[in-house]
Amino acid sequence: MAHFTKATSVKDWLNQRLAVETVEKVMASEYWIPKNINFLWAMGMILAVTFGLLTISGIFLLMYYQPSVDTAFYSVNYTIMREVDFGWLWRHVHGVAASVVFLVIYIHMFTGIYYGSYKKGREMIWISGMLLFVTFSAEAFSGYMLPWGQMSYWAGMVITNIFSLGSLHFDGLVEWIRGDYVPAQAFLNRFFMLHVFLLPLAIMGLIGLHFAALRIPHVNNQDGEEIDFDAEAKKYLAGDTKNSKVMRFANDFLSKDLMVVGLFLIFFFYLVFWHYGFALDPVNFDPADGLKTPAHIYPEWYFLWSYEILRPFPVDIGLVAFGFAQVIFMLLPWLDRSENTVPASRRGKFAIWFWVMLVDMIVLTAMGKLPPEGIFSTIGLVAALLFIAMWIILPFITKNEKKV
């Protein structure tokens, strides 16, 4: 057993039992971050803050929400929106944060792709991040079911239908997932459970993994410079903070994080109070009606690109393409054959690949929402084929990339 002495202070008492000083060093003051990074490196903190906002607002909503097909819509739109003090505020914060969190995730993802932050020991950061993307998607989808409006019901119908896998007709699987022939009480209950318990639990675990994966390879930087973290840290601790290439996570980097978070919150609250329509779809303010299909069924904006990879093809081919789109990002560290861990701007063909991919995904996103008619369905088909082709050629264009 360890030797304990009479504590001289509360801190000392805690230090003997929890090693709080060591923990503080490891997690904050001697967690070294490169200096040459820009505000895009603060997206992680923005995501953490937004996840915090989602959790807190979710807890308040959970106190009044009723997971019953008869009362869910009423509990959201009457009880929470009209009766509960500030219930409307929690709902708007929750709904807008759920949408904005995906915008930040996409910025975070494309930042990683642009600067090559998935290579040379950073593969686990990328994979855990992609797993977070998948769980966040499931979390967003399950949450979308809960108000039990028209879009909840019909999105639930369409998405669970995907599991019948086209011509394979796994209808039994679809019924098993729904717990019924159509989305009904059993369906609502299980998505409620997933949304408020299992998926948040998985997300928290994955966030832990994501952070842990960052420890050993350290944070990437905007010039792809290989930094000797030990030597630079020594320099910093010796007092040469100006010439050291690294800084402390707290308070050095944290102060910049907080600055970016501050600016982000102005944007976020503007949306919450004045511009929430994009996140709280009007169609979902009609109660679920299994006998009335909405004129246009579309997912939330952040799923549109993958929806558009499913939609322009015949059922079976569409499902294969959709499956491809879901897993292909995960394989990026191996499909990119180049050794260069530098910004895309210095990587020749890869730079073109990056910008074409970004624009293609925006085109897919737009076509995923527009009615699949005339020119829109043609553009959608071309964009979906381009997406697949781009991933197929990626290993070939990166294999012969010049070393920088």
């Binding site: 200096k35 820009n38 505000f39 895009l40 739109n77 009457y78 929106m81 009209r82 409307w88 505020l89 708007h92 915008l103 910025i107 903070t241 100006k242 800084m247 308070n251 050095d252 102060s255 910049k256 907080l258 600055m259 978070v261 501050g262 600016l263 919150l265 102005i266 609250f269 503007y270 919450v272 109070f273 004045w274 329509g277 994009f278 709280l280 009007p282 169609v283 979902n284 303010f285 009609d286 109660p287 004129a295 246009h296 904006w301 549109l304 970004l358 925006i362 996103t365 737009a366 929402k369 527009l370 009615p371 829109f376």
Partner: protein, 312 residues
Amino acid sequence: MKELKILAVVVFFTLLTYFLVEPYAHSQMHKHVDSEGFTYADLPALTKTGDKTRGQELIMSAGCAGCHSIEAAGMPAPMDGVMAAQSYGVNPPDLSNAGALYEAKFLSDLIKNPAHALKVEHKFDAASGKMHPMVPFYGMGGDIDQEVADMVAYLQSIAVKAEEVTPAMAFEEACGRCHAVGYENWTQLGTKPKFKHEKDSLAFDIKLLEYQDSLKAYMGKLPPDLSMYFRSRNEHYISTFIENPQNHLAGTAMPRVGVTADAAEKVIEYLADSADTKRHEREAIGMNVMIFSIIFAIFALLWKKQVWRDLH
């Protein structure tokens, strides 16, 4: 500087995506209907000036009160709402405030040719024997246009002043005999009272169900509860829908109700109170939160500058 360039790139692609999936996609998905400002340009212009005293006599002798109540003139409804709906499909409106709620032009045409003014001629066509339940006024022997003008003048004289029309009054009289607004406790038979005994409450519900059965048979389906319509449809949609339902939904059984622009605004305000009850609170709190956020961001910026002074 470099950071600002990066920010510009991020903002550009974010706004581009937003523009494509929101304003642009919605402009492609929904038909755009322009407002005509509730002028009812398709109806004949008014040429006569009415005399309210003659109008009152005409209304008495034309038999309007056989179906309509005129509470303001002390004339009660000849039968209760349930029975009226069984007879006519829907409970005929009380005419006390008709002069304030509906355009004079619309009332004039309605009196002479209900199905035409209401734009439900696809449903009611006298030639094929499908008469609109409201009997047209065929004239009392004089100049029919003068007679109608007199009747409208009378209705305007007994109605409340335009500025006295409240949102609830406008909605309940113009829309509330077909549409319920559950969140405002409004049913097609009026505000549901608080009953001391459950059996009285159930008796009310039974009467309501009977009323709704007649309404369903008359309209083809039960007109929707409008509690959340202010959020599920936008304001422009509701306004242009009220102005002329056929523009949005050709062939719908919903009649054009002929409200004035002012009355339509009141109806929309009522719907906003139901579906977006806390909108005023939202604005006020939003301003405070913005002020807080800006101050927070300024302090965060200053803190960053202080911490980074030693790093460069």
